[in-house]
């Protein structure tokens, strides 16, 4: 009875998101190279965003599942294209010339 009422998934998810936050904070408090720090931040940020969307905002639990996921993937694609394209145009092109 108690087992069914206890929101096990949500509590684990909540703890996990706290852990992710703590790991991200390490970048500030520990001494590490820029590359390592950015990698940690990017990885934890994406997992965190996914966790929030799927577990706490119920992205996959309604009949609009396909629409929601399509728009998330589309948005991610556009964001990645914009960021990489900007880096290519304004930074990388001058490094390889």
């Amino acid at each position: 009875m108690m087992k069914e009422l206890f929101p096990r998934k949500q509590v684990i998810g909540f703890i996990f998101s706290l852990v992710l936050t703590a790991v991200a904070l390490l970048v500030y408090f520990m001494d590490m190279s820029f590359a390592v720090g950015m990698t940690i931040l990017l990885v934890t940020a994406f997992i965190q965003a996914g966790l929030q969307l799927i577990l706490f905002m119920h992205a996959g639990e309604s009949e609009d599942k396909t629409t929601i996921y399509t728009s998330i993937y589309y948005g991610m694609a556009i964001a990645i294209i914009t960021v990489l394209g900007t880096l290519l145009t304004l930074v990388w092109t001058y490094q390889f010339q």
């Binding site: 609009d64 629409t67 589309y74 948005g75 694609a77 556009i78 294209i81 914009t82 394209g85 900007t86 290519l88 145009t89 304004l90 092109t93 001058y94 390889f96 010339q97």
Partner: protein, 648 residues
Amino acid sequence: MEFFERFAVPHPSPAIYASMVAIGLTVIAIFAGLTYFKKWGFLWREWLTTVDHKRIGIMYLISAILMLFRGGADAIMMRAQLAAPENKLLDAQHYNEIFSTHGVVMILFMAMPFIIGLMNFVIPLQIGARDVAFPRLNALSFWLFFAGAMLFNISFVVGGSPDAGWTSYFPLAGNDFSQSVGTNYYMIAIQIAGLGTLMTGINFLATILKMRAPGMTLMKMPMFTWSAFIANIIIVFAFPVLTVALAMGTLDRLFGANFFTSNNGGMDMLWANLFWVWGHPEVYILILPAFGIYSEVISTFARRNLYGYKSMVGSMVIISVLSFVVWVHHFFTMGQGAFVNSIFSITTMAIAVPTGVKIFNWLFTLHKGKIVITTPMLYSLLFIPLFTIGGVTGVMLGMSAADYQYHNTMFLVAHFHMVIIPGVVFAMLAGLTYYWPKMFGFMLNERIGKWSAWTIGISTLVAFMPMFFSGLDGQARRMYTYSEASGFAIWNMISFIGAAGLAVGFALIVYNIYYSFRYASRDIGSDPWDARTLEWSTHTPVPEYNFAKIPQIDSVEPFWDQKKHGKKLFEGELEKIHMPNNSGIPFIMGILFFLWGFSFIFAMWIPVIIFTLAIFGCMAYQSFEKDHGRYIPLEEVEETENKLGGNR
């Protein structure tokens, strides 16, 4: 007195003082007129507080037409200045201000509201809905747009106009080179209007995804709804970039940040980059709904279904993706090298393919159609060849190596005018003429309409074709004068004649509205064009609730099937209808945003704080307000339906 000095125009002229007087008199006349005819209550109840998508759409259209004349006046002044070599009509500073405001007004305050206005009016009717998904948000969108537009428009009489071009490139737009508040106006006014547009995007996505009549699957939506759907997706993903870029520009100008400065680690090219990451998709936000209008008009007046429905949808989806990967072609000459330019050259050429597919689909729709030449159809037929000129020169500009020759010349100016005028403006005029009877219950005169269509079509060619030649001869854009020896004079004179022709064309449209208002028949039924889609199946004038019974859809052209094949569109009994209540909050927030923006522009921080709190106050009030809408009782629905001719 010192306090008021900041509001003075830094570079005044008699024309600007005359405008001040004219604006003052107009405002007094409007207030006096409203008071004298006791129309304040009517205005407040029926228009300022309305959440009805049809009325909001009409307000957008009125604003768009007003802004068309503002931008058109700018255009005429520019062409007049350039009509003769060494002309002294305008000086350099005024010319800079005029081309900057012309661009911003025409793109953001004319084309955008024109499109959003038509979307507002048409889409809920086309998908069989009673309103948009968030009616009050829709009203807020309009009032934010209107606040932004008005804020931008007072710049030339209070504090000075922006003068760094409609692209407002840094470092020119930075504090070092643009010392007046003009560029602050640019940053803040567009920010406010842009927020409204972003809300519209979200609102219409939700509306189109969730509020279609039963049976209308995505692939049974009318083409205008599809095009608006894609355009709104692009709005939602492109406008945040503009919001961020404008915020960074504001921080640079007002708070001493260094995002776009040339020192302290700033990067001025980043502004151009971010501007066009938004700016290129913006082009497709404008053109796709225009294509949707053409699809509706061509299919209606070719008297047959649209050729290649699936390829139309597919090409728009491909355009929506490709529109985000071509932005660098706006600054091929900025120095990023052959490799990067080649990538963006190829993506740019690729976008011509789906656009070509659409052009051929329209041609195939016309093929074997029983073509009826009406005014909207005339605009659509003029669009195809004229737009192709603009499109082909676009491919020329897209070749990055060749672009070094065309960049920043009048060739470019000619190209984008030949795209935007036939592409967007003709579509909006076609759409306005086409939907006019549904909006106002009478038709615009066909004879005058065709005269204006031909005048505008020919004048477009006369005004912009010469620029291709003077551009190839080396006339730079944004140049306020030139010498006689340059040989540009003849092209610019022809161009001025074309601009005057365009003015005549638009004056004819205004006359047409006046003439038709006075003399046109009001007995036109609800389907004067013998059209095919759902918006024509309801009464004219459209009742507040759009459809007394929600239609049942099983094809792309349900209304045509009802008329020709006897399918039943409306079944079931009449019921009471749930509608949203009017609200004054969006209008009040619009005013607050206007005052907030104005204080921000002049860095008057105490009023900024007060108005920020007031805006948050409105939002809090809105959050806690309990408003569940109201029901229109069954008797009232029956009465309206009987009065409008029963439910067929």
